[in-house]
Symmetry: none
Subunit: 234 residues, 4 copies
Amino acid sequence: MLQAEQGDTKKRLLEAAGEIFSEKGFKAATVREICRSAKANVAAVHYHFGDKAGLYKALLAEAFESGLRRYPTTMNLAPGAGCGERLFAYVHSFLLRMLGSGRTAWCGKLMARELHEPTEALDHVVERYIVPLAEELRGIVAEALGNRAKAGDARTLACAMSVVGQCQYVFRSRAVIGRLAPQVRFDEAGILALARHITAFSLSALKNMPPEPEAMQRESGSRGASVGIAEGPA
Amino acid sequence: MLQAEQGDTKKRLLEAAGEIFSEKGFKAATVREICRSAKANVAAVHYHFGDKAGLYKALLAEAFESGLRRYPTTMNLAPGAGCGERLFAYVHSFLLRMLGSGRTAWCGKLMARELHEPTEALDHVVERYIVPLAEELRGIVAEALGNRAKAGDARTLACAMSVVGQCQYVFRSRAVIGRLAPQVRFDEAGILALARHITAFSLSALKNMPPEPEAMQRESGSRGASVGIAEGPA
Amino acid sequence: MLQAEQGDTKKRLLEAAGEIFSEKGFKAATVREICRSAKANVAAVHYHFGDKAGLYKALLAEAFESGLRRYPTTMNLAPGAGCGERLFAYVHSFLLRMLGSGRTAWCGKLMARELHEPTEALDHVVERYIVPLAEELRGIVAEALGNRAKAGDARTLACAMSVVGQCQYVFRSRAVIGRLAPQVRFDEAGILALARHITAFSLSALKNMPPEPEAMQRESGSRGASVGIAEGPA
Amino acid sequence: MLQAEQGDTKKRLLEAAGEIFSEKGFKAATVREICRSAKANVAAVHYHFGDKAGLYKALLAEAFESGLRRYPTTMNLAPGAGCGERLFAYVHSFLLRMLGSGRTAWCGKLMARELHEPTEALDHVVERYIVPLAEELRGIVAEALGNRAKAGDARTLACAMSVVGQCQYVFRSRAVIGRLAPQVRFDEAGILALARHITAFSLSALKNMPPEPEAMQRESGSRGASVGIAEGPA
DNA sequence: TATGAATGAGCCTTCATTCAT
DNA sequence: AATGAATGAAGGCTCATTCAT
């Protein structure tokens, strides 16, 4: 081995694993491919991380950590900014974490994957990263809703899901978007435009949502427990 | 084998494949598991469909057909209904196709999967099913936007994506939603409530969007060129 | 594959496994080697037996079954034979099962191995095969001891162990016996001679054992429970 | 590493190897496990002993030396003791070497293993340790047989094997004995009781064996030639 | 003297696939 | 039309061993 490569096998492994896991998912990715890509031996994974799942778990931690460090949810945000600007920062950083290219580009991809195909590492990820992110967003959304809406309201929760859903969609459906609307690009400027649209759409919705959460209480009596989300067009 | 089961093998195979492919994805699903679930021989798949990919392709066609037949986008819709009701019907049927349980419930799940992890069958699926669905939605959205908005506008496209994103999110992030907000249920009533929220949120947004697409252009001047979404084919 | 070999893969696998497991033990034997020896594919083991342990378990059953069928403990025994003749038959068949060459030669070897390095299959083997064999031997031994000795006595048990120990030794220490006493052969005649010696030695011991089981009671009081075996030279 | 542990590595390695090799055998024992148990680095084995086999060989020498030093065959024996007492001492020390617990208890276990699964170290072990032990036992046995029996007689050899067989059996079949006769214990008192039984059984046999080896010759006439044991070098 | 890191061979197992009937 | 049997490729993992310090 070359001198320069000594000692950073672990780092190279994480690098390669990030790319491949985020591209193919936990199951479909193979240790062999990761090692080949990292120019490391197959056994190195088991030496450094115990097993495939250990590598994945270490990667998740690394990915979320570095992704959030690189694109924090308050990116480029002046102190004391209004909820509109904060929502934009939140959405924009969200998209950048998922769609950004270059190093640590797999952070958001991994997150998205983990949500859809949970591995046993999900619990830890949720607790450590998702919950705080979700709470932050609910705070912004509640403020935008106004009218004494609180972060814990069912309606606030549902609206936050609406925002996140828009963000994840552009990542998850990249492939089909490329076919349906080839004009949409995923470069820096395209991401910016997408973030602006999502922010505008969401703010427009939030500022004009029918105010009554009472509706929920009223009608949900019919089926009882299972609802918990704001009612429809009335 | 019992006499009664003769000839059903192909059907049973598709049935089982639907459940398992939609649950685990193409790669993670195994031919063995499908055959076991269908009470068929391992070789049956290759006899009837050539290979695993052939089964998947056949399934896709079958699934979309039957899914759209069962939950059409105009479900329970009175003729001449307004765009709000049409949006609700669209969203509700969308959710039912993805979240519904029981027979032929895997239609939407498969579609969602295909969008995220495209197989070589994607092109055909997009052309045959996604494009018409997308066009239909864009029609509804344009009508809700009003102001001479057209189905082909970049803004209309972006808003349609916002709607679809919300729908797919609740399916794709079931696992994490279950942890973050255990009160959200995915039974019939829960799906209804979700559909109502998404419709309300989206209508509220559409009816109050800043009227001009120029707004987006204006602000994006900071970075100049390729703005992605903002630049439609028009 | 040749016509003649079709369908007997399972049999060939068991054959090869018998030879190799009995030679090297469960852990050291490899599926690959067994399959190579059986001219079968590596996957065949898992098709027919589930996994390596399944093959081993199936083999054990087969081995004991066929070994006892081929060399029953009452081999060549006239009805109404005395306990000396019955002991000889028991010992002789024991040796033949362990040392016999040719097909099913690994029956006794496997048994001996299993006793020394128990796998998780031991429990079943003990219950199904060892217990009956042990009881039969204890019956013979008790008769030879005379003096109202019973099969369940501690002394009877200890004496039975003495007999079995002699039998197993010649198998287990083949390698070193071959070095210490090269004149000892393990062919048919050699086995016969060994059986005669063990029978003579054991009968001589049994017929002349100090009669008192009371000795046990008397002295064992010093240490209490843990003894259970007849006392020494007094 | 702590200062105090420096230099002990080799010793600790042998200690751990003894325990593990004697418990699992050469193949099943792993260098990693030994090193972990010895709190040494994986590479330490190869540094101190070249390779796994080297460690094993070094262990064998050490083990037999220390085992025989700790439990000599003339253990607690008054000078000028009779052959009965000498036989008891021989048997008792034999059992203690194999069944004893605590430090250096693996001496006999390793020996027993080596006899059954000979490694390339067998020749040396036989020559250096087994041969002298066997000769000593044959001397005792010949004396017990009386009637001008000599240590080199075929009958003496066979009887010595009968004694050793009984001893090894209780060690080798510990697992199954524990199931068949749970009252047999392998603690100090249990070992004593076992030694007494084996001595009593063997003395009873030896003192009453049919006086002439011709008896064996006579009857074996059925097959004529190579009778194995019956034909000594004499 | 001693070690953390890395390696390549080999293990058991599982997979989609094909063969012969 | 359908199946039980068999196959080869590849998967994750573990092993004894070596390297560079």
